[in-house]
Symmetry: C2
Subunit: 418 residues, 2 copies
């Protein structure tokens, strides 16, 4: 009798905790339940997913530090999600109920990550290695054939991922108005697609830097394979070690790894390479206002990552009198890109599971689905910023030329995709 | 004998002061001389202008506080400039040698202007009255027929000013994607051209605010004349008093008058009018980094004026989670616009002189010529920033639509200019 009463009391407690969790997540349209036990459902409308928590320890951890523990419990299989995971995460993102770093445990976790993931030269190498050096074969399973691991540019909503990545590479090149023979430096070059595109389609000479050993090895192989070694040099080194004189500086998807405290340093590197007469483009994930990256993402996906507000990025430009020429926000294109990646990832889930394990698959599924949600909801932005030195003579009169396909470019397109 | 020696000593002193002045102005390619006395010429190449200083008092003042005293002496006729004034001012601007506010007198002048030109509701009315209420007939002499007193958008470098101002109004409307029936609020509407364009060409309802009595009176007359009173309401009031609910917020050329300390307030006004679902555009003169406006300009042309760096403008957006959608830098278009204005102004100089006096003509000539120089050299930028509320559903997929002229728009164009 006493035992039954205790059980009932415990169930009632669990139910009210579940309700509290839903509430603090902004009441997403889901059912949340303890495995074989009480459940809660704050939403009267149509439900998009069901969340099942395996045990009360997991529940307790979820209360203490949901930012990190939700993802970890899902990866471990202690939380299961059935239904539409993206819609569930999008509802949370849209409610903006989740506030990173409130409470003691989240605060401690935040400080711990700041302390252990410093973007020093050595720290950056470690952080980058964690994400990009896990296996080229893995990325080949779900990225486009060119292995472009940044936001694509979809000329239309129904463009294929391959076409959209090609269009993105070209959009970047046209924005900085590459001229044959110019010298370009790229900071953070991934598997080399942009550097090779610039050299092949625009006749420029490129030095491309990256501290991911695997990526650089692959990019060099590709340059050799395409016979572009004379025009593209892939260098395994830190952006802080970039020297030399260039006409154009480009960086696509590296600013997120630089860290808030190094923006002035990056600005200095840009200025010492292109001076007052050069121009450049930064492509990066940003925010509407300064905000730390999710601690779960920092712990398990992008150690040392930080996605800046535009205001913070100005620290790279202002000290050297760089002019901002053009800013484009492509967040809807990143949502679309990530939808493609998530689809392809799910289609290869069995293979990924064999390469790594089921926990890895769940971790990456949550990362990709959560990213779709973040860009759809506007929690994250994607900025392309074109800038120019104070004495730069190569300013476009209008942006109309970006949207006029020339016959030559159509031919290039045909050539490159045939 | 003694007297001659003294005269020689004095002349030698004047010469070295003249040299010093040239040096501190970044050695522009000019000859500078005392009237009938010694001269200096730091440049070995082709000279673009000759500056003559009438007396040693003017020379002394020029040394103490060149920022203000150069312009005042030119306006008074104590300094004359012959040759290419714009080229002379551009050379100074490009050398970036002039540093506002260094030295005791400039520092005092700066503080004095800050103190006396506060942009309170009352102060703003006073500041705006100083520039915009001097005479509609005066502005009609040298602006385009629609009286658009902000940077135009030249589809090609050879477009006429009239066409370029029409194209600018349309560029703004297309950037915010106006739909028939939507409600638009405009803060700082000048003589009403944009508000009327939006209502006439896009079928929206507009409330347009301005604290210039003369401009509002003219705009109301025009709305009546065009039969648009039912769709455009011109309100003589401060932006801080804007209330009501709107789909779109636009402001072209007002941010410069708002003052650095009121950006948060302006952001609050924007958020309370368009909420999280609306969108908007700000068009303003900006800088590569925070920098005070020339004290001469503040004293004689735009009291209370401040042209912000992009970073500073983010203060209007961040607290309300607005997303920056698009930033375009049109500084070359403002240089072109100002060239047109300066040309037209010179053609009407006699008439302006009769309306006011010769000092007024010189003051305004220096202001317009200096502005051409500032935008040509990149000392000043012109930003159009499109932004959207965090829940805004009206985001364009790409910007390509901005550059595709539709048949309807061509017809509208024909209609409006016929």
């Amino acid at each position: 009798m006493e035992f039954q009463r205790l059980t009932r009391m415990f169930a009632s407690l669990e139910r009210s905790v579940l309700r509290r969790i839903l509430e603090s997540a902004g009441n997403p349209p889901v059912r949340i339940a303890m495995a074989g036990g009480p459940e809660a459902c704050s939403h009267s409308g149509e439900l998009v997913a069901e969340i099942v928590i395996s045990d009360w320890r997991t529940l307790a951890k979820l209360v203490l530090n949901p930012d990190i523990n939700f993802g970890e419990a899902y990866a471990d299989g202690r939380i299961t999600i059935s239904g539409d995971m993206v819609a569930f995460l999008e509802a949370i993102a849209r409610s903006r109920a989740v506030r990173v770093g409130s409470g003691l445990y989240p605060w401690l976790a935040e400080r711990w990550l700041n302390l252990t993931q410093v973007n020093s030269r050595r720290g950056s190498r470690h952080n980058i290695h964690h994400h990009y050096d896990i296996s080229n074969e893995f990325y080949q399973l779900w990225l486009d054939p060119q292995l472009v691991y940044t936001c694509a540019y979809f000329p239309t909503r129904t463009s294929s991922l391959e076409d959209a990545q090609y269009a993105k590479l070209d959009h970047v090149c046209r924005k900085v108005r590459l001229q044959p023979g110019e010298r370009v430096v790229e900071a953070g070059c991934g598997w080399g697609a942009l550097a090779l595109h610039m050299a092949r389609q625009y006749g420029v000479k490129v030095k491309a830097f990256n501290i991911s050993h695997e990526q650089i090895a692959y990019a060099r192989w590709r340059a050799h394979h395409e016979g572009l070694e004379n025009r593209v040099e892939f260098i395994e080194d830190d952006y802080r070690n970039i020297h030399g004189s260039f006409d154009v500086f480009v960086s696509v998807g590296m600013v997120e790894h630089v860290g808030r405290s190094n923006y002035r340093k990056l600005g200095k590197v840009i200025h010492r390479t292109i001076g007052d007469t050069g121009r450049g483009l930064l492509h990066f994930i940003g925010r509407n206002r300064p905000w730390p990256l999710s601690p779960w993402i920092r712990k398990h996906i992008f150690p040392g990552g930080y996605t800046p507000a535009l205001r913070e990025v100005m620290e790279m430009f202002e000290p050297w009198n760089f002019a901002v020429v053009d800013v484009e926000n492509l967040r809807l294109h990143y949502a679309r890109t990530l939808e493609h990646w998530l689809d392809r990832f799910e289609n290869s889930a069995d293979e990924v599971s064999r390469m790594f394990d089921a926990k890895f698959v769940r971790t990456w599924r949550l990362y990709l689905a959560g990213s779709v949600a973040a860009f759809r909801s506007g929690n994250m932005q994607l900025f392309q910023v074109v800038f120019a030195g104070s004495q730069c003579q190569s300013l476009p009169w209008t942006r109309a030329y970006l949207y006029q396909a020339t016959r030559e470019q159509d031919q290039q397109w045909t050539h490159a995709t045939s």
